[in-house]
Structures are given as C-alpha cells and as structure tokens.
Amino acid sequence: MPQQSVREAIRDAMSEEMRADKRVFLIGEEVADYQGAYKCSQGMVQEFGDKRVIDTPIAELGFTGIAVGAGMAGLRPIVEYMTWNFALLATDHILNSAAKTLYMSGGKVGCPIVFRGLNGVAAHVAAQHSQDFANWYMNIPGLKVVAPSNAADAKGLLKAAIRDDSPVVVLEHEVLYGHMGEVPEGDYITPIGKANVARAGTDVSIFAYSMMTVKALAAAEELAKQGISAEVVDLRSLRPLDVAAIKASVSKTHRAVVLEETWAAAGVGAEIMATISDHAWDELDAPVLRLSQLPVPLPYASNLETKCVPQVDDIVREVIALVGGQR
C-alpha cells in the first residue's frame, strides 16, 4: 500500500468525492489560491476551479450560514475551518441551523454538509488556538462526529462524511497532518460509527481518538516491554459511539483507561466512562481511569504545555498503577 501523509489523504478524499459528485464543493478561508492554510487542499483549485474551491473572507458565522443554506438547497458543501477554535463563531449555524432543522421541519429540510478542520492541542500556539472541542459536538443530536488518528482513516472517514446525508463534524489534528501512513488504494471508505481495535491486548483497554490514539499505541508498546498487554481501541467516531466495541473490549480486559485532550469535566472521557458504566459495569475489575488535559487554559511555555496534556510516559505510569491494583 502507498504511504501518504494525513494531509494528502484528506486532499485525496475531497478530490475523489468532488470528481464523483459535482454537487460537492469546498469553501473556507485560504482553501483556494493559498492551497489551504495547512495545505490540505493543495492543487484543488487548479483542478476544480474557483466555482468549486471557494476562498471566503474571514467571517466564520457568515460563510458557515451560507454553506448550510446551500446544503439545505441541495448541494453538498465541505466547510474548512482553519481551526475549530475559529468555528466557535459559527457554532450557531452548526448547531441551530445544520443539526436541528431536519427535526424541526418534520424531515423536510436536511443538510448534507461536512465541517472539517484541525482540532485539539497544537504545538506552542497558546490557549486560544489550542483546544479539543470533541465533547462540544458529540453532545449534539443531529450531528455525527469523527476524529481520525491516521492517514487511512483520515481518508476513509472523510469520504464517508462527504457521502453522508447528515451534517458531519470531522476533527483533524495539526500534529497529525504530517504523519505518514499506509492508505489503501481505490475507493476507500471507513464507516462512521465503527471503532477500530488498533492493537489487541488482554490486560487493559485504552480508549482513545485522534492524536491520543497515537500516544496510546506508543504507550502500549512500552507497556508490552514491561509485561502488560494493552488493547488500544481507536474510537474514530465519537457520535455515534461504537458501544458494542467498547463493551467487547472491556469484557475482554476488565480494565479501562480513557484518554482525551478535552478537559475532564463533561468531556469525552466522561461519556466513555458512563457508557462503560451503563453497558459493562459487571465486567470491571477496577475503576475506570481517565487522563485529560489539566483544567487550565493551555499555556504557551513548552514545559507547561507538555505538563498539561497526557503524554506517553504519563499513560504508561498510570496504566501500570491501574493494572497493579494501585488505583
């Protein structure tokens, strides 16, 4: 299989879907002439022209509303946010216009649309440009939310999102854009709503998504050296959650760790813990462990920034304690 970066996989997903369906178009800041602020749309305006790859002014609320209106009227927009931090300005249209209108209209007005961009803890850009919003969007009925951790899923989930008739939030990760991975050739789709056992294990289940999956896999490697067999479940979809996969893994290992870049309060981890409590309580041999961003705005200084987010060493240390019965 060919090796690709995550950003190339994203570009290919969009380009392939735009070749297949002329109703699909890309809109956002710097997506056309600049080739994408993070080069995720490299070469696309050259191929598809400026009627389908559309640069917008810096006006997230306005261009999101326009895209949602176009989606309601029958097009299939892909909205790129330079970061999900900026999409805060557009949340009204994501929530009130895109996610709710199908229901409020008794099924008459839907909106097949993709909202995508980078999310999570970036490197050295301080608090306003560095936050994981996964829990905000996975709270909302009417939305689907995916957060890929590798190039293959970045392509497969994005293609699935573009074909989905629901509004789909795609949470990418800045640090992952340059990560290389194998991407299957051809029309590769990762179904929304299916988790992936990224590494099988027997002693403990580590549930993660996006960048945290990468850290979980590194931690599992280290744990193996210390005689602990950790299973890494890459959630991939945060709404809908793959409850069956969560239950199956906990039933196998009887211990669970949840990793997130969100703050702990009402975060992704809280939802996974509640899911385990609801569906696999009797399987647990230990309390569920959650590792989250510390509850402070992310600091700039590199030592503080590193300390703020669960790192591989932290995961290894905490999992050893959990498995050793010290939690």
């Binding site: 009627k51 002014p57 249209h93 409020m104 689907k144």
Partner: protein
Amino acid sequence: MQAKSAMTSAMNSATPASTLKAVQAAKVGGKSGGKAALFGLPELQHWHRVMLEMRRFEEKAAALYQQKAIQGFCHLYIGQEAVAAGLKATSQADEFGGDDFITSYRCHALGLVCGLSMLEVMGELTGRVVGISKGKGGSMHMFEPSKGFWGGHGIVAAQVPLGAGIAFARKYEAEVLGQANTRVSFTLIGDGAMNAGQVFETFNMAALWQLPVVFVIENNQYGMGTSVPRAAAGELWKRGEPFGIPGEKVDGMDFLAVAEAGKRAADHCRAGKGPYLLEMDTYRYRGNSMSDPAKYRTRDDVENVRDSRDPIARLQQQLMTEHGMKESYFDEVDEAVKAAVNQCAEEALAAPQPGESELWTDVYPS
C-alpha cells in the same frame, strides 16, 4: 401617492450619492403607470383576499393563544401583510422553478402565501400531527422546500446567510451543474436583525459572489421593545451601499409598491447583477410575540397607523375607487375567509398530537 412622495423627500435629505440612487429608485417604482400593467382586477382581488386570509388567520391564532390552544412563542404578522403578499405576487411563477423565500420566526403568513394550507400552519401552531412539521417545529419552524418556503428560523439574523446560501446553490446549479436557473432568494430580515454581525458578513459575500438574493428588511419599527432609532445608526436601506448593493426604501404598507419594488429587485438579480436590498417601511399592530404587552408605544400610535396606512383597507379602497367595487363584495370575502379560518382551527384542534414514535424520527435522515 402621498406616502411615496413623502418618502422621496425623506430620501432627499440623504447623502448625495445615496440620494441619486434613491431618486432613481423612486422614479422607476414611482407613479402608478406601471401598476395597471402588473395586475389586472382578478389578480388584485386575489391578493386582497390573500392578505385578508393572513390577517384573519393571525387573529384566530391570537385567540387560540389566549385559550392556551397555542403555546410557547407566537409572533404575529398583523399589519405587515403587504410585504409577504407583494413579494410573492411578482415572484417567478412555479412553472419556471418559483423563487425561494426564507424568513425569521415570524413565519406563519409567509408560509401561507407560499402555498401552505391554513390547516398545515394551524396544525403546527397547535402542535398537531397535521402540522407542516408534524408538530415538531411549532410557531417558529415551518418549511416546505417544494414550494420555495425555507422557514421559519428562530435565531435572529440566522436566516440571512441561509437565504444567501440558497441563492449560492441556485447560482451553482446554473454555473457548475449546467441547470437552467433564474430563481431568486427573497431573504426577509427584521429591523432588529439588521444590527447583527452576520448580516454584514453576508452582504459582503453576496456582493463579492454576485448572488441572486433580494434582502428584504421588514422594518416594523421595533426589535421587540427597542425602536429602530435606538438600535440602528444610520438608515437601514443604505446598509448595502458600502458593498455596492443597490438599496431603496419602500412603503411596505402598500401592496402595489411592494410588488413593484420586488419585481425591480428580482429583475436585477435575474439579470446576473447580484444582490439587491429593499427596506419595507411597515408596522406590526401586535406585540413582538403574544407575550409582549407592547408598553413601549401608545395605543394611539398603533391606531394612527391602522387608520391611515392599513395595507388591506388601502387595497380595498383602491379597488373601490379605481374599479368600482362595492363594499358588499368585501363583506362577503371577509365572511368566507373567517369561515375558512374557523374551519381550519376546528380541524387542527380535532387532530391528534404526534404519536410518540415521532419523537425519534427526523433526528438523522432515514
């Protein structure tokens, strides 16, 4: 034509550049020469009846609200009928694809004028399964895309970029998908919404991309309880000017003036010249919603408008003086309309509430 000339003189006090545009606009839309060409007697009778249907329908909704048969929010259109009727009256006929209409939560009358049945609207107001949204939207959320009616939006100003987005889709259909398309998006905006940031963002992009959208400001003088001069600096009809969007102020209590202006604006869009802005000078007789006692103005303020500018009485007067119609005709129409409204209310109230299975449908497409 008193209102029109008063308006023209008001426009003359504007800045020089605006004045030119305003005077040109007043000239084009001005005298009644064009009016006879737009509508014959049967059409005028039809639109008179349509406005009366809106009025009686909303009065019935108010009565049902008092009886608690309608709950929550309920924003009535009484006084503003000429705007919805006038715009629809000169919009593109359905056989050519119709035009698109979108508005805020004050949406009952626009829904009716776009072709929803009274029962579909009243059913929704009363939360019944016969409602256009199966009772899941309520007063503020009604939609029928097949009739060019796009709602029905509860967040002030949100419908503005959505309406521009519908226009974006029409232009895209023509330019990228190769479909013959001359549809225009009539995007209605309350005066209160005109101060929201997304309106300016949308004006900018609509002008940049030359979208076929007519922004129609329904200036009913109050955003909830705050009068326009207390909320908006400058004049609303000029707000497109920095973006190169032509704008004009129209007597929104005059069906014919609205229709003429709507046609002028839509023709501009259909000619590929981009967006157009109309400020409709109108008035709502009731509070912002049924829960608003409207203490920010006097009863006399409302009575004065009702006595001097009422859009339905005005068209009736024109039909009587210019077409020799008799008072008895209007009495008969009114009786028939009231009967239809009463019947739709009875049918709505007799209909069941949505089944519990409806709770789980339409969250995601089936």
